[in-house]
């Protein structure tokens, strides 16, 4: 119980933070900021302990809590760590203090409410990752929506209302579909096996007819695909990013988008393996379209936030490709790619925030020669750019390389059995590395090199707070690039379980 307590403590710590904030006297903004930072730092420190103690050799849940909640419906309060979520929980906790510290100077309006919302979303994201019961998962999933909605709506840019409504419309649409699917799924489980349960572990055993699987995966899948986002369900993302305050963008790119890919990995594909098999070609094609389409659009953007937003679409396409390859290396690569994208995109958005605070514009054309004007800033920016491109020794390489290797070898195997499409998608995905270099270097070249140009000069280079934030991110980027073996050990059993769940026909006689 002691161990399980730790995970619960980590999960509910942000709520404690909200209570502390409420107790803070008005006008004490410095105090509010410090309290928030300390709580987030504590959460990260405790998560590190969880991560270190997480035993990579034990399959299944660790630090598990399972309490009856609504027994009549088989709903349990069940949370725990496993290989699926352990790295993402760590990532979420890691970004928490950075998001808070990054907002110190940017947010001056309703500071208390702002940090309360950051705490709330942190709580909801953690909860979504650790939930092991579909009912609980859905509650956390929905809870994430509200603070994000408010972060953009209150602290956002000029067109924030348009962006929030678009964001809400898309995600609410996904939520409704998912809700219906959840109910139908639990009902069918009861019909076929007589068990009434929301527990993931039980749901994995549901033997649904292919038609039902297809309907359910469509519903879950649409909801997840909106979050990823996969083309053509992506147009909410650039607007949300552009209008969101830096903290919102960082949370969005750093963690929220991974909800979609995590959802596919934890629920969508393993719950409905036969339908996944049926949909696989379409998913591969959509993943590759996302890679190429996102990259092409990133190439022609003039708003620096939009460039990173579209690049996210491209990068998460690689995650989807790795997941659907069902190759162990590809799956592991996908997990690393999720974390890596969380680090690089969060870092880049933080850096955009830093320059925005100085120059008050996101127009790419307004900048030039920052390498001269802000040398320290430029070094960090270059490193994150290169990590985003997937240059070796950075986390981006580890993720991209393993995904492509896994996807290609799996597709080659299928090609030898006569299937051309997977190979075509894999080859196009490999060519995507060229586009990645093209749009990021266009960005960096205009931004950092050339004639010195920036509004509101003279500019002051990074201060200690900003440097500390970026050093933390860059260190993580290199750690995952140079020594990915440790983290991957922690996820390996889950990756194998995922592979096995999705590769084995759930219904006897389903084609493979």
């Amino acid at each position: 119980m002691g161990e399980a307590f730790l995970l619960n403590f980590v999960l509910y710590l942000p709520l404690v933070g909200i209570v502390l904030l409420m107790a803070a006297p008005p006008g004490q903004e410095g105090f509010v900021r410090r309290i928030t930072l300390w709580v987030m730092a504590l959460q990260f420190a405790l998560t590190v302990i969880l991560y270190v103690q997480f035993d990579a050799t034990v399959p299944g849940l660790q630090f598990e809590t399972r309490l009856p909640w609504i027994p009549a419906w088989g709903v349990y309060y069940q949370i725990g760590l496993d290989g699926y979520n352990v790295l993402l929980v760590l990532l979420t906790a890691f970004l928490g203090p950075l998001v808070v510290a990054g907002a110190f100077t940017a947010i001056t309006k309703d500071v208390k409410l702002f940090y309360a919302m950051v705490f709330l979303i942190q709580f909801a994201m953690m909860g979504t990752f650790v939930a092991q019961d579909l009912f609980l998962f859905y509650l956390f999933w929905e809870t994430m929506l509200i603070p994000m909605f408010l972060l953009i709506g209150i602290w956002g840019g000029e067109r924030r209302i348009y962006a929030t409504i678009k964001f809400v419309l898309y995600t609410a649409f996904g939520s409704i579909l998912m809700l219906a699917a959840v109910i139908y799924l639990v009902w069918s489980l009861q019909q076929t096996t007589g068990i009434t349960s929301f527990a993931f572990a039980d749901l994995y055993k549901a033997e649904l007819p292919l038609n039902a699987q297809i309907v359910l995966l469509s519903a879950f899948g649409l909801s997840f695909a909106i979050k990823v986002p996969m083309v053509p369900l992506h147009t909410w993302l650039p607007d949300a990013h552009v209008e969101a305050p830096t903290a919102g963008s960082v949370i969005l790119a750093g963690v929220l988008l991974k909800m979609g890919t995590y959802g596919f990995m934890k629920l969508g594909f393993p719950l409905f393996p036969d339908a996944t098999h049926w949909f696989a070609p379409a998913i591969m094609v959509l993943a590759v379209i996302s890679i190429v389409y996102g990259a092409c659009l990133a190439l022609v953007q003039n708003d620096i936030k939009k460039i990173i937003a579209y690049s996210s679409i491209s990068h998460l396409g690689y995650v989807m490709l790795g997941l659907i390859s069902l190759d162990l290396i590809g799956i592991q690569g996908a997990v690393i790619q999720m974390v890596s994208h969380g680090l690089t995109a969060a870092g880049l958005f933080l850096m955009v925030g830093m320059i925005y605070e100085r120059c008050h514009t996101r127009e790419l054309a307004a900048y030039g020669g920052l390498a001269k004007l802000l040398p320290v800033y430029s070094v960090f920016f270059m490193i994150l750019t290169l990590a985003s491109i997937g240059l070796p020794t950075t986390s981006g390489f580890t993720g991209e390389f393993l995904v492509l290797l896994g996807a290609f070898t799996a597709s080659w195997q299928q090609y030898r059995q006569g299937a051309v499409l997977p190979l075509a998608t894999a080859v196009i995905a490999v060519s995507g590395v060229v586009l990645g270099a093209l749009y990021m270097l266009r960005f960096a070249q205009t931004f950092l090199f050339g004639v010195e140009k920036a509004p509101h000069q003279p500019l002051v280079d990074l201060d200690r707070r900003e440097k500390a934030i970026l050093i933390a991110i860059v260190a993580a980027v290199f750690l995952l690039g140079l020594f990915p073996d440790g983290p991957m050990k922690k996820t390996e059993l889950a990756a194998k379980q995922y592979q096995q769940l999705v590769s084995t026909p759930r219904l006897p006689g389903s084609p493979r």
Binding site: W73, E142, I146, F149, L150, G153, I154, I161, V168, L169, I176, L179, W187, P232, H234, T235, Y293, C296, L297, L299, V300, L328, I329, Q332, G369, K372, L386, L391, P392, T393, F397, T398, L402, L404, L405, F408, T409, W412, Q413, V427, V430, V433, V434, A437, L438, L441, R442, Q445, F449, G450, V451, E452, L482, F483, P484, D485, M488, K489, E492, K496
Partner: protein
């Protein structure tokens, strides 16, 4: 196990870190000591490794750590040292070290002195990973890394947009090649479950598991090589890369990095030995690039551009050798080329230094007596590349010509003829360069004229060393040294009586080229001018590099932007997706006109409705679930 190889690789990395973090604060003495000292140490460590290798005779393997273990597969960061790696590592650390020393003079007054040395050391780190890596993965890390260092160094003077653009072009063009490289690597992984190059070669040598066609893999890897080594059709980045500082052109864009593709093919000779189709592609592309780049070099007027096209052309020679199975000969030419081309580039740097930045050979002339050391060393290196015996270039080039003619693995008189014609052009354009720069009357700007001065000892000393190597380097019998590892192709007995006539021919060709240049460019170049006028059309095509840059821009660059902007962004995102979304929203709005009154703009109210919706749905689901 000793970690000597790891040490060799890590030494320059330490230099990068030290100079990058502390260089600006601790001053030039520190930068010089670290920046030059660590590469020199790496050179001696390489010598030690070589001694160990010769002592035991067995390749040295040094496993640094396991990068990733997935299932029962493992990716290791491991280094491998055999004679091939030894030759390459000695070139990299040796030529690298002297170029570092030269840079202390050349970059003396640059504001970003420490940054420059940090980048150079970073380059050496990646280049050594490339040549010492045991697996294709480590090689690829170095491969991409040298590209990065090259990018940073081309854009070293990043205030100039031309430099920044050239850097980006180099990076992106290389990435196109890398996509092919990756595919080849993936196929090998699929077939053998390892990326260790010694194991892959062994597997092919044993004839085991040709589960994947050697020619397919060979061609894919070669696509990577065309990027890094600037072969057709990916050669376009190298001449632009000359925007970087001249020592960078010498080290990266002549002596070492651009030969990485040659090394890759030689290292994977186990594959190419079983891939006649791929080998033929390599030979033909190599010969075509050699010829084509030489024609361009004849007309260029920027001293560094002439040398750049010459490099492209010489790399073509190396691929020609690889294509006909003479791997050791290709590596031999890598070495001699490293000597004479580094000498030429550094000599050009010395000229540019003397002329306060002037690079246009039309504004030079008569420098022989003004900067004598530069002149003599440049002349020796020119003679070497032109193939005048007994200088270094003669030996390696002659062996390439012989194998192109006689190799039983794809040699043919056609390949020989193309190579010989290229050799003629090489002698011609190099002599033209020498002539226009050093002989005749001075065409300098009067202002420049005053400041002409010989370079400091740190530069001229290096020139003398490299000129000496260019002179005698041909006596280092590299093909013989590598024979056990990379056996030379058989040559049919019937062709052997051609050997002597061919050697004579190639000497005659070299002399002819030199003489022709002297003939056309003597007396102020009046004869050359007349030829240029009578062939104005041809000259225009050559001078503009066959308009290939423009062609790529029209065929690839602009369509990509157009499709991205007009089709994907405007039609896809805005019209179709958002349009449909707006339509839906409007429809819903009209259908629920009365409800619009609750759109008060108060977020609290919205939030309340969202919560209400969730709670309501949940309540409903409990009832009816």
């Amino acid at each position: 196990m000793s970690h000597l190889l790891t040490l060799i690789v890590v030494l320059p990395l330490a230099g990068f870190a030290l100079n990058g973090l502390l260089g600006n604060r601790l001053g030039k003495g520190f930068v010089n000591a670290v920046g030059c000292g660590l590469p020199i140490l790496a050179f001696f460590a390489t010598l030690k490794a070589w001694a160990e290798l010769e002592g035991t005779g067995a390749p040295i393997v040094d496993i640094a750590y396991a990068w990733a273990r997935i299932g029962d597969r493992s990716f290791e960061v491991a280094f491998y040292f055999d004679r091939l790696a030894a030759v390459m590592a000695l070139i990299v650390t040796g030529v690298g070290s002297v170029i570092h020393i030269y840079s202390t003079g050349y970059m003396k007054d640059d504001a970003s002195y420490a940054r420059f040395f940090a980048y150079l050391n970073l380059f050496l780190f990646f280049m050594l990973s490339l040549v010492l890596g045991r697996s294709l993965l480590v090689l690829f890390v170095g491969w991409e890394g040298v590209g990065l260092a090259s990018y940073l160094l081309i854009g070293f003077w990043f205030e100039d947009p031309v430099n920044a653009r050239a850097g980006k072009k180099a990076f992106v063009t290389n990435r196109i090649g890398d996509a092919g490289f990756l595919l080849g690597m993936f196929l090998l992984w699929w077939a053998f479950g390892t990326l260790d190059m010694d194991r892959i070669n062994l597997a092919y040598a044993n004839g085991a598991s040709p589960a994947v066609s050697a020619s397919l893999v060979g061609i894919l890897l070669f696509v990577g090589a065309t990027g890094k080594s600037a072969q057709i059709p990916l050669h376009v980045w190298l001449p632009d890369a000359m925007a970087g500082p001249t020592p960078v052109s010498a080290l990266i864009h002549a002596a070492t990095m651009v030969t990485a593709g040659v090394y890759l093919v030689a290292r994977m000779s186990g594959i190419y030995a079983h891939a006649p189709e791929a080998s033929m592609v390599v030979a033909v592309i190599g010969a075509a690039t050699a010829f084509f780049a030489a024609t361009i070099a004849i007309t260029q007027t920027d001293i560094k551009k002439v040398l750049a096209y010459s490099t492209v052309s010489q790399l073509g020679f190396m691929f020609l050798a690889l294509g006909v199975g003479a791997y050791g000969v290709a590596i031999f030419h890598v070495m001699t080329h490293a000597f004479f081309k580094a000498c030429l580039f550094l000599g050009a740097g010395s000229v540019i230094h003397a002329l306060s930045g002037e690079q246009d050979i039309r504004k030079m002339g008569g420098l022989a007596r003004r900067i004598p050391v530069t002149f003599v060393t440049f002349a020796v290196a020119t003679a070497a590349i032109a193939g005048i015996p007994p200088l270094a270039g003669f030996w390696s080039k002659d062996e390439i010509l012989w194998n192109a003619f006689a190799s039983s693995r794809g040699g043919s008189p056609v390949l020989w003829a193309v190579a010989a014609a290229t050799a003629l052009m090489t002698a011609f354009y190099m002599s033209r360069l020498l002539w226009l720069t050093f002989f005749g009357k001075s065409r300098l700007d009067p202002e420049v004229e005053h400041h002409v001065h010989e370079s400091p000892l740190s530069m001229t000393g290096v020139l003398v060393v490299l000129a000496a190597l260019s002179a005698v380097g041909g006596f280092i019998a590299v093909p013989h040294f590598l024979e056990a590892l990379l056996p030379l192709p058989a040559t049919p007995e019937a062709l052997h009586h051609y050997e002597t006539p061919l050697v004579v021919t190639s000497v005659v060709i070299a002399l002819l080229g030199v003489a022709a240049a002297a003939f056309f460019f003597a007396e102020g170049g009046a004869r050359a001018g007349r030829v240029r006028e009578s062939l104005a059309g041809v000259h225009r095509v050559l001078y503009n590099k066959y308009f290939i840059d423009e062609l790529y821009e029209r065929l690839l660059g602009r369509p990509l932007t157009w499709v991205s902007d007009r089709v994907f962004l405007r039609i896809g995102d805005r019209m179709l997706i958002d349009g449909a979304l707006d339509g839906l929203a409007r429809l819903a709005h009209r259908a629920a006109g009365g409800l619009s009154r609750i759109q008060t703009g108060h977020l609290n109210l919205y939030m309340f409705f969202v919560l209400l919706g969730i709670v309501g749905t949940l309540a409903w689901s409990f009832r009816h679930g």
